[in-house]
């Protein structure tokens, strides 16, 4: 195959371009750049006002995921009287609420919301949980250590654990039917919903549909798409006729994504690693120097004391010497005088 100069240069340029932008994207990923989710990623819109609480989605979920049959059959709707959460072998549950204003009961389906920046994935220390560009947050049981920090971290209280398994416990949760999506099928629950209370599609178009419905029926819907911004946004979106807090969905989660919540302490790592060795070596050097100075001062003091005492001694000796010299001179003078006097006296006597 002949490659023209132009093609070659072009592909070379493209390679360089891709490499550089790739590197740049990585660098930006490390910083706190605002992430709006993967483009073209899929999600599900749950219009709560359409849900009739038939539990067909629960049944479908159970079937497509090959989960064990529950004690209460899916046709038994009495279970709706009890508020439930997702369990190890129930990836989705429908709850019933009696909203104050509405006469009718409201049903809400609960499952993993597939956050755009999932708390579970950011908390996982082995990358067993991952947000895929296609939308689903998926789990790799082959990596999982079973620390359950993902369950602690999830603000929606979704991941469950196989506490009953001894050697191979897994974290379980809705996968948005990632394997089925790959085959071009719909998620089990969406396919089973008889009322189209669940719509699968690209998140962007689901948001448009949701907004359009709110605009068209402002009296029917609360003017909020739950999941658009909650915890940085989720792939699963909700429309409701009742305030979300009254149908078991927390409104106090905020819009900060989980990775942002922990980015502060994580960014302190290089500061500690960089600063401590320098500071501590400095402290060590200072304390050594202090010891040295103290030692020197001690030596000097000893020396000074010695010099002083020497001087004092010398002075004393000098004084003594002077005294002795004086006494000596006095004694000599006295002797001389005495001798002179003696000789004078002798002379007088001889005369």
């Amino acid at each position: 195959m002949a490659i023209s100069r132009r093609t070659f240069l072009g592909s070379l340029g493209a390679t360089i371009g891709v490499t550089t932008t790739g590197a740049l994207t990585k660098a930006y990923g490390a910083a706190n750049k605002h992430f709006k989710g993967y483009p073209e990623s899929s999600g599900v819109l749950h219009d709560v006002t359409l849900c009739i609480g038939c539990r067909k989605c629960e049944k479908a979920c159970n079937t497509v995921n090959g989960l064990p049959q529950p004690e209460t059959p899916f046709e038994d709707l009495n279970i709706l009287d009890k508020k439930r959460r997702t369990q190890a072998y129930e990836y989705t549950v429908v709850n019933q609420f009696q909203a104050k204003e509405a006469k009718e009961k409201v049903f809400v389906k609960k499952q993993c919301n597939h956050c755009l920046e999932p708390a579970c994935a950011s908390a996982c220390f082995v990358k067993a949980l991952k947000k895929t560009p296609a939308g689903p947050v998926v789990y790799d049981a082959d990596l999982c250590v079973g620390c359950r920090y993902c369950m602690v971290a999830c603000p929606f209280e979704i991941p469950a654990y196989e506490y009953d398994k001894v050697l191979t416990p897994r974290v379980t949760k809705c996968t948005m039917c990632a394997p089925r999506l790959k085959e071009g099928k719909l998620p089990g629950c969406v396919e089973a919903c008889p009322r189209e209370a669940l719509i699968f599609g690209k998140r962007e178009s689901l948001l448009k549909i949701a907004r359009a419905r709110i605009q068209k029926y402002p009296e029917k819907y609360v003017d909020h798409v739950y999941g658009e911004h909650e915890m940085g946004g989720t792939s699963w979106l909700y429309l409701s006729g009742q305030p979300f807090a009254t149908i078991g969905m927390r409104e106090d989660l905020g819009t900060t994504s989980a990775p942002e919540l922990t980015s502060g302490p994580l960014s302190a790592v290089p500061i500690v690693v960089g600063l401590w060795p320098v500071l501590l070596t400095g402290v060590y050097a200072i304390s050594k120097r202090k010891d040295k100075i103290a030692e020197e001062e001690k030596n000097e003091a000893v020396k000074a004391a010695r010099v002083q005492s020497n001087e004092e001694m010398n002075q004393k000796i000098e004084k003594l010497r002077e005294k002795m010299t004086k006494e000596k001179t006095a004694a000599i003078n006295f002797e001389v005088k005495k001798a002179l006097e003696d000789s004078e006296e002798k002379g007088k006597q001889e005369e």
């Binding site: 220390f125 067993a128 971290a153 654990y161 009953d164 990775p259 060590y284």
Partner: protein
């Protein structure tokens, strides 16, 4: 006189041996249960409460109370407080055993313990604070092992190797401080991901700072507390230097801890003000918060201050136990009591008997190993061949 290997004549069925023997046997049964029946049988953990006292007590308290190692060695080797020298070895030993037991306890808690090396060697989840904790604990345990090894080598007579390791003491100490700063604070930062689950009085962006500062006075208090126990039961192993310096260590740490605890209260108040959480203080949670902060930080801090001013060792020892209890209370409040505060009482966690028994077993195991080592190796005294004085 050589104090090594001088083990007192001990009755095989002394009270100590009886009690620890029963606990260890019970622990063995629990271990078998845990690894044959699974977490569901042994613990009260559930999907809403994935972390219980094996994390709240064994991990969080274990790591905080093992902080004496880096605090004492930093005081002695970096800050040049040479009079703390005789306290370094007992502190390093406690820290080493503490961390080793933390890692042991994690084997009970995680679902597949044989995969614990995964985050370090196989698949690094660098965005997780737990990864930071795991990596630092792994590295620090290694550092502690090396820091402790000279004592074992003196005992075994490995003179050359011992002398090489002693030469890098400063390097190891600095490494220890870096790693401790990182993981002590990260243990607090673990909970920064759950502003919606942890009660606002305990949730704060200062959590890493709180955990780090409190680990320092936790470590000091443990050194004092342990010292008083050792004085009571292991005095015959102590040489003159140790006996002479020990009250100085207690007085010095008491004063430092008192100041640190006052500072800790100040930053707690700053945190309270920044998040404007004052109104919660009048609620039941507020009372519990004040019970912890005033009852278990301020009061022992005052007792420490009085004790160090009056040079009253009784006060200081009492304050050290009080502070240790306060640390336990704080860590349990964050991981268990104030965690999931929004859930109805029926869905809250309360540890099972077997969970508590397992924690007791692990602490007992620590005490037994500690006793084994200090009665044989030069911990409370200097080895005859390596005297510095």
């Amino acid at each position: 006189m050589d104090l090594d290997n001088q083990i007192p004549e001990n009755k095989k069925f002394s009270l100590f041996n009886m009690v620890t023997g029963i606990i260890l046997a019970g622990g063995l049964v629990l271990t078998i249960l845990r690894f044959t029946m699974g977490l569901g049988t042994v613990t009260n953990l559930d999907n809403n409460n994935p972390w219980g006292i094996w994390i709240g007590f064994d991990l969080l308290c274990g790591v905080a109370l093992a902080a004496g190692g880096y605090v004492t060695s930093a005081a002695c080797y970096i800050f040049g407080l040479k009079r703390f020298h005789s306290a370094v070895r007992p502190a390093i030993l406690t820290a080493f055993l503490g961390y080793a037991l933390v890692v042991l306890a994690l084997h009970y808690d995680v679902g597949r313990p044989w995969r614990l090396p995964y985050p370090i060697f196989f698949s690094q989840g660098t965005s997780s604070l737990l990864f930071e904790v795991g990596l630092c604990v792994f590295l620090y345990l290694t550092v502690l092992l090396i820091e402790f090894s000279p004592a074992a080598m003196e005992w075994l007579g490995l003179k050359k190797l011992r002398n090489i390791i002693v030469k890098v003491t400063l390097l190891l100490t600095i490494l220890g401080v870096i790693l401790s700063t990182l993981h002590q604070s990260s243990l607090g930062a673990l909970f920064m991901i759950v502003p919606s689950k942890l009660h606002p009085l305990w949730y704060s962006s200062y959590l890493p700072v709180y955990f780090f500062i409190s680990s320092i006075f936790a470590g000091m208090s443990m050194v004092i507390f342990e010292g008083s126990l050792a004085h009571r039961y292991l005095k015959y192993k102590m040489d003159e230097t140790h006996l002479k310096e020990s009250s100085g260590v207690a007085l010095g740490f008491a004063k430092a801890a008192s100041l640190l605890m006052m500072g800790y209260i100040c930053i707690k108040i700053i945190g309270l003000s920044i998040d404007n959480n004052w109104h919660y203080l009048t609620t039941g949670w507020g009372l519990w918060f004040l019970f912890e902060l005033v009852g278990f930080v301020l009061f022992p801090a005052i007792l420490y201050a009085v004790g160090s001013r009056e040079k009253n060792l009784m006060f200081i020892r009492l304050a050290s136990i009080w502070t240790v209890l306060g640390i336990v209370l704080n860590r349990l409040n964050i991981s268990v009591v104030a965690f999931n505060f929004h859930l109805p009482a029926a869905q809250r966690y309360c540890p099972s008997f077997m969970e508590i028994a397992t924690s007791v077993f692990i602490v007992t195991l620590g005490i037994v190993i500690y006793r084994f080592i200090v009665t044989r190796m030069p911990i409370f005294h200097e080895h005859a061949d390596y005297k510095t004085h």
